[in-house]
Amino acid sequence: MSVPLLAARDITKSYGRSLVLDGVTLDAGRGEILGVAGENGAGKSTLLRILAGIVRPDRGQVAINARLGYCDQESHLFPDLTVAEHFEYFARAYGIATTSGWVPVRDGLLERFRFHQYLDARARELSGGTRQKLHLSLALIHQPDLIILDEPFLAFDWDTYLTFWDEADRLKSEGAAVVIVSHVAHDRDRFTRIFELSSGVFH
């Protein structure tokens, strides 16, 4: 049996007296697209932030055996840096800046998500949708094999939404695991598995 790319065990998290996650367990293997759904405030984003390593759980463990790409719900960018500079900065962070391989990956993302014309535009000049495209692309530039995405397509138009799913399918076919938090009730057949989060546990 192959080792899962992501193995989360008994994740528990409270904020004050409010129990947000109560012993959540989740595995993600190669070639899977997992959905985490639930009401507002159900703890979906908290779970993903724990999986990504941003928030420490009160109890439980997360093991990641993969290169991680993480895309938060909000587009946290540098307003006065250009799109090209963002890619350069994050390529350095991922440790791939000195290799030439990341440039074709970047160009492919720019092409597929159709924002190559904004390469020299500053982030503050971009529309909400284009900022989201950049935000998402920064999570993919190092060709991760585990991608954790929190509401990645909220600001997308329909074409970009479809492009997103093409990209997710491509990653899946290359053996990556994709974990997506979403409110979206339709397109459920695009997911390998969907976990409904309610009252801090999966249903």
Partner: protein
């Protein structure tokens, strides 16, 4: 600590800062406005001032020149504090994401400190040059050191305010209150001479930097002791600011 990571971050932070054109224009305009206000309002009578850094020695100086030194240190401190606060406060979440992607928080901090050093050097030199236009004897290198000292101490205080408060309104308030009371008021040696609680003035952050500038402009007194005070104060602010920022940047993995 990886040099190429620091260099990339340094370059990006510098680019971000250099693109805030309006902020830079305001920073360039501020010292001439301060100096012009002094020249327009301060007289040319000779007044006695008491210098704590010269063991309380009293020296007679022209009121306008004394005021130019005083306001120069205050202007350099104010500009450096605002830039420093902005450097550390902005885009915390984006920086945190960089840490998640492989940067070490220490590399991001060092890059910011290097940018801050550039800001301090640039601000102090510019303010010093403008001061020299109004009074040539203020071109003394020690006056530059005093202004750089004020910018350093308050630059580090700005870092602390930026690290401590998540929103800029609070940090701006924290900076304005202390700089106004300290560099903009109590460090004026006219007040020091008649002050009831001199220990309070000597305990404030801008005290040593102001003394370096005054001693260099109007005496030949040794400035080493005051410089140690400058460095100690700045280092203390810096250590606390780094500790807080590092904690905010921390990720689990």
């Amino acid at each position: 600590m990886r040099g190429d990571y620091v260099a990339t971050s340094f370059g990006m932070v510098l680019r971000e800062l250099s693109r805030k054109r309006l902020v830079i224009v305001l920073a360039l305009v501020l010292p001439p406005i301060f100096f012009a206000a002094v020249v327009a309002t301060a007289g040319n009578r000779i007044i006695p001032i008491e210098l704590a850094g010269a063991d309380g020695a009293v020296v007679s100086v022209e009121e306008r020149r004394q005021s130019l030194v005083f306001i120069g240190v205050a202007a350099a401190a104010l500009i450096a504090a605002f830039f420093a606060s902005n450097l550390i406060q902005q885009q915390v979440e984006a920086n945190r994401r960089l840490v998640l992607c492989g940067y070490r928080s220490s590399e991001l901090i060092v890059a910011r400190l290097l940018v801050l050093l550039c800001v301090i050097a640039g601000t102090a030199t510019y303010t010093w040059l403008i001061a020299g236009v109004f009074a040539r004897e203020l071109f003394a290198p020690g006056v530059l050191l005093g202004m750089a000292g004020g910018a350093f101490v308050y630059g580090c205080y700005g870092l602390l305010a930026g690290a401590l408060f998540r929103r800029d309104l609070e940090s701006i308030f924290a900076i304005l209150v202390l700089i106004n009371i300290d560099a903009g008021w109590l460090q004026n040696p006219i007040y020091y001479a008649t002050a009831g609680s001199k220990w309070l003035i000597e305990a404030l952050p801008a005290h040593h930097a102001s003394q370096v500038a005054y001693l260099s402009a109007f005496t030949s007194h040794f400035i080493g002791t005051a410089m140690i005070g400058v460095l100690s104060y700045g280092a203390a602010f810096l250590a606390v600011a780094i500790a807080i920022y590092e904690r905010r940047m921390r990720v689990v993995r």
